[in-house]
């Protein structure tokens, strides 16, 4: 137990420099722009004195080292600054749109796992069969489909050709999200309000975007599961299970899959980055009011503080997820020594 604590403690400690590096990278990237961000943002009626005032307000007239220290100090206070274009704190739109992205990402992940893992396990069991080959081909092809194209094709088929599913937004036009919005997670909110009609509406709107994310990512999980299952099926404990006379189904889908699951979990952590990228593209295609669309909107508006704030949030996310995955991995994988 003490060893576990020490391992966890060290892992936690490692997060700090990693996060710091990421934040530094964000800082550098945001200042790569040639020219002056304030002039780029302000309009025609920007007298020189006004520009100078704004620059001072943003701290852009200080030397770069000072700006960096200020940046870090601000972040440690959980202050992301204020938007340059709109009169609001950077955290305001982020808090508003974050649940939308999380809801989409989680649902997409569930779809990806729901398709990828069973198919991967099945493919491993039926190795070298036509089914296996098809599954592997599927895995390869699907990863090469751009998220936005997958989204457009799904829209084309299910939204336009067959008018079965909605292709944009989180709720339909006649549903007022303000009626149930509490946490921002509409699936939860509608259930809390016991509004079945709204829940159905929200769920239906999630289908195509989640499929877009999920199908494209399922390929990776399929291949991973398959590869790990192949190892797992050859292992001793599976042999022992068979020898004990356990039914084949239980051996494969119970023991072997359980064992293969651990590396998949690890991969989940790494694939989270791909998931986030995919979420941005999916949000663009489905007009999903989440962080991805917010990022692009604010980029067009040249609202640098908000753009920086959004990327910082992403960096935080990635660090936290990576930490969580490592912790869970350490807890459940007997092979990890601590």
């Amino acid at each position: 137990m003490k060893n576990l604590m020490r391992y966890l403690g060290m892992r936690l400690l490692l997060t700090i420099p990693m996060l710091l590096i990421l934040l530094t990278v964000v800082f550098i990237v945001m200042r790569v722009i040639p020219g002056d961000p304030v002039s780029a943002m302000l309009g025609d009626h920007a007298p020189v004195k006004f520009v100078a005032e704004k620059k001072h307000e943003l701290g852009l007239d200080k030397p770069i080292w000072e700006q960096y220290i200020d940046y870090l100090a601000q972040l440690s206070r959980f202050d992301l600054g204020r938007s340059m274009i709109l009169q609001e704190a950077v955290t305001a739109p982020i808090l508003e749109k974050l649940p939308a992205t999380i809801e989409l990402t989680l649902t997409g992940l569930l779809v990806a796992l729901g398709i990828g893992i069973p198919l991967g396990a099945w493919a491993a069991k039926n190795r070298r069969s036509v089914g296996d080959f098809t599954a592997r081909l599927y895995g390869n092809i699907v990863y090469c489909i751009p998220f936005f194209w997958m989204g457009l094709i799904l829209q084309m088929i299910f939204g336009v050709a067959f008018d079965w599913l909605p292709i944009a937004g989180r709720v339909g036009s006649r549903v007022m999200s303000s009626d149930f919005d509490q946490t921002g997670f509409y699936l939860v909110d509608t259930l809390l309000k016991a509004d079945l009609k709204a829940f159905t509406d929200v769920a239906i709107h999630l289908i195509l975007p989640a499929l877009t994310l999920g199908i494209t990512l399922s390929g990776i999980f399929l291949r991973l599961t398959r590869a790990n299952m192949l190892d797992s099926l050859k292992s001793d404990f599976v042999l022992a299970a068979r020898a004990r006379g356990l039914p084949e189904g239980k051996v494969v889908y119970g023991h072997a899959l359980g064992n293969a699951f651990v590396p998949v979990l690890t991969m989940l952590g790494l694939q989270f980055a791909v998931l986030l990228s995919g979420a941005i593209l999916t949000e663009t295609t489905f007009s999903w009011p989440g962080m991805g669309r917010l990022l692009l909107e604010r980029i067009y508006l040249r609202d640098y503080p908000t753009v920086q704030g959004i990327i910082v949030i992403f960096a935080l996310f990635v660090s936290v997820i990576s930490l969580l995955v490592d912790i869970i991995h350490a807890l459940i994988d007997p092979r990890v020594k601590y």
């Binding site: 990693m18 990278v25 390869n140 751009p146 194209w149 941005i280 663009t284």
Partner: protein
């Protein structure tokens, strides 16, 4: 000891070329799925490269010619893939657009590798605090969603071929670094390297004779998959409008322009650019994975 000649050092277990030729000649006997996968990938890649190099052999239309045909003509007849809303032939835009996307992807992958590989070699070989700091930095960047970084970069630097290429290149440096560093470290531990060191081989010799050639094999595989990834990233950047300025045909931008015409029934505007992106990325992926499967067993046999 100083005068130890290179020829007296233990032999390196088979160079890349030897292994590749050997693999090809036995592939016929293998006839595994991996071989076919590789072939398909190779075919696609070669076809696309051909198309990039000699576009005029594939189409007689100018991709920017707005009078190539009627606006929004459906596929068929002389317009294999139909025409877009400005009357431009879509197949021509696909053919000539290959240069854009492949050019950027290839250049980005090249730049990434030229930076990532030496850094990885250095880091893995030298070790120490340099290695720890660099490793941590690269791991952090690697864990971050590449597309978001590319978006931020592209947004800050503005449109332009060079900027987009750099934006895409930056996010793959850690990939090469990690791979090469890992390989370098494991090769460094090998017996024949130790033997060479004992015999007095200089550091550069060891790097050049043992480590580099063995590392290159896997790097080629990663390079291919990397190009596939870079293709997807470039397409994504174009799709969201952070790509190249108008003027060169661009598959991602055609997709984003074309989706406006979906509800009114002009499905060909988005179907073909998407298919091209997918096919091109798939080609490089299959090629890379196929190579990996074939070269991998050989690597492990050492």
């Amino acid at each position: 000891m100083k005068n130890t000649r290179v020829s007296q050092l233990p032999p390196s277990p088979g160079g890349l070329l030897n292994r590749a030729l050997h693999a090809f000649s036995t592939a016929g006997k293998t006839y595994g799925a991996e071989w076919y996968i590789l072939l398909v990938g190779l075919f696609i890649v070669v076809f696309m490269i051909f198309m990039t190099a000699f576009p005029w052999l594939f189409t007689s239309f100018n991709p920017s010619d707005q009078d190539a045909g009627p606006q929004l003509a459906a596929p068929g007849g002389i317009h294999l893939m139909g025409t877009d809303n400005l009357g431009r032939d879509i197949w021509a835009r696909m053919v000539w657009g290959a240069q854009t996307i492949l050019g950027v992807a290839f250049a980005a992958a090249l730049i990434s590798s030229l930076i990532g590989i030496p850094l990885g070699l250095l880091s893995g070989f030298v070790g120490g605090p340099l290695d720890r700091v660099l490793s941590l930095t690269m791991d952090s960047v690697y864990s971050f969603p590449g597309l978001i970084l590319a978006i931020a970069f592209a947004a800050m630097m503005g449109p332009g071929v060079v900027n987009i290429t750099l934006a895409v290149a930056v996010i793959y440096i850690p990939t090469y670094y990690r791979l090469v560093r890992g390989q370098t470290i494991s090769i460094r531990e090998e017996l024949y390297v130790e033997a060479a060191q004992v015999l007095g081989a200089k550091r550069w010799t060891i790097l050049g004779r043992y480590i580099f050639p063995n590392v290159i094999a896997t790097t080629v595989v990663v390079f291919s998959v990397n190009i596939a990834d870079a293709i997807m990233t470039e397409a994504a950047l174009s799709y969201i409008g952070l790509g190249l300025p108008a003027g060169m045909p661009d598959w991602g931008m055609d997709l984003s322009m074309g989706k406006k015409f979906l509800p009114s029934g002009s499905w060909w505007l988005i179907t073909f650019p998407g298919m091209m992106i997918m096919t091109l990325a798939l080609g490089f992926t299959l090629l890379g994975e196929g190579l990996a499967e074939i070269l991998n067993p050989k690597l492990l046999e050492r």
